[in-house]
Amino acid sequence: MVRVLYDGRLAVDIAGIKMKTPVTTASGTFGFGLEFQDFLDLEQVGAATVKGTTLEPRSGNKGQRAVETPSGMLNSVGLENPGADYFLKCTLPDLQKLDVPVIVNIAGSTAEEYGLLAKKLDVEGVDAVEINISCPNVRHGGIAFGTCPLSAAEVVRAVKANTSKPVITKLSPNVTDIVEMALSVEEAGTDALSLINTLVGMKIDIERRSPVLGNVIGGLSGPAVRPIAVRMVYQVAQRVKVPIIGMGGIMNADDAIEFFLAGASAIAVGTANFVDPRLAETISGGILKYLDRHGYRNIQEIIGLALPR
């Protein structure tokens, strides 16, 4: 395994989260990070974004939860997780031993719940919270927070009021106007943005004549969605001031660079972790090579280069 000497050229500061490299992991695709220790050195990852955590334990969706699609996959895990208390007691201590920022992805069904969760996670060892707003808003008849600028902003405010940590808001791409969503949560005080979450899709088993996923619909991720993700980062980067963590279909350093050029200050590896569990570490080397080849001194110099001047 090639160890990359970062020497500060890849260092980024995302709303106060100090990362050695801008390569992080996408929530839900990296477990708690510890699962990957056979394959990579967690300390060589910019930040470990752990899987979606809720106040109470959740057992997730029934039936088949994942299926491959052309250059992508659908998942409907349904936020299975052991709950915040378990995370704090059993997982965080192990993560704390490592020199890597920990970002906890949080989900709830009311703004208050997000607030309570943020407060509970406002402890040493947690470096930031990432708000997953692609969850159904039970108050408003199940419409996802992530598709309504106002309720998204409400969640952001509830979280900001309850934590001393940097707050990242992760946007859903299933909206007519991603810029409107971004501006709304920026206004509400988010310190950074993650985009994109998964697109809603489904697959039908033509032999059984019914949906493949137990949950019928699922979230589409992987290289198939990259053109949509790059477009959204490119559009949002032109309008917001907060830093963006770009993700969606990144399979290698070239794909990552597309996101930096589109205006992302950091990126996350998601589905690709399943194909190559070393990627979140090795991709940094590829980015350095690109910087060298084009004569850039550091990653900052390429952020947003493809944006209109």
Binding site: G28, T29, F30, G31, E35, F36, D38, F39, K51, S59, G60, Q64, R65, A66, V67, E68, P70, S71, G72, M73, N75, V77, E80, P82, G222, P223, A224, M251, T271, N273, F274, V275, D276, P277, R278
Partner: protein, 255 residues
Amino acid sequence: MTKVIAEAKVIGQRVLSRDVRQIDFLVPSIAKHALPGQFVNVQTSRHTAPLLRRPFGVANVDRENGVLTIIYRILGEGTQLLAEACSGDRVSIIGPLGKGFDLKAKKPLLVGGGLGLAPLVYLAQCFCPEPVSILMGGRTETELFWQQLFQDLCEAIHVTTDDGSLGAKGTVMAMLPELLQKGGYDRVYVCGPEPMMRAVAAEAARNGVPCQISLEKYMACGIGACLSCSCGGVHKRLKVCTDGPVFWAQEVTEW
């Protein structure tokens, strides 16, 4: 047991039946650790479609020579690509993955159907020279090659086919009760379609024989990170890819 990702070299491919193949990989780093019941996650394409790795049970291992064997049925794109691999080709494999079978039986009965028989080959091999019996269920006699594979590894091979074209007519349940009553088995290991495993586990329980099952769930990561494969357990949620695929039958409450 550390999991590794390795570039395996294809060293042989055998046609076992119309749509079943056996492939041998030279991959010492995985072969030297792999236990019966564990599986490997194989990348079938360097392109983005097919995207995910495909999981296959370890069907045999030659530790000395670093060879790992899988037996697979050509079903879709991934297995089709695997079938096109030639000797010398490199294939990325992650393994060994998951928890394998408990090996502490004195007189084990192996029960399998379809490709579920693949991991049982390696299991039978590991029990040698202990006397192993196997009960195989199939649809028709077309998959005779399984008998050849188990021939030198088992002292008794019992066969059932749905149409009676080979062995007893019916499912494995046509023979299992009698075998369990008279055979003196101290462990049942079953791997096959879910209905078969449920029926076998229930019968084993009736006879007071401890039973291990090997679950198959759609897997995206194979290393416990994505929760695609989780199932309900007695004490907690279980992940088939890391807590299994082999479980004690009573451990799993919701498949």
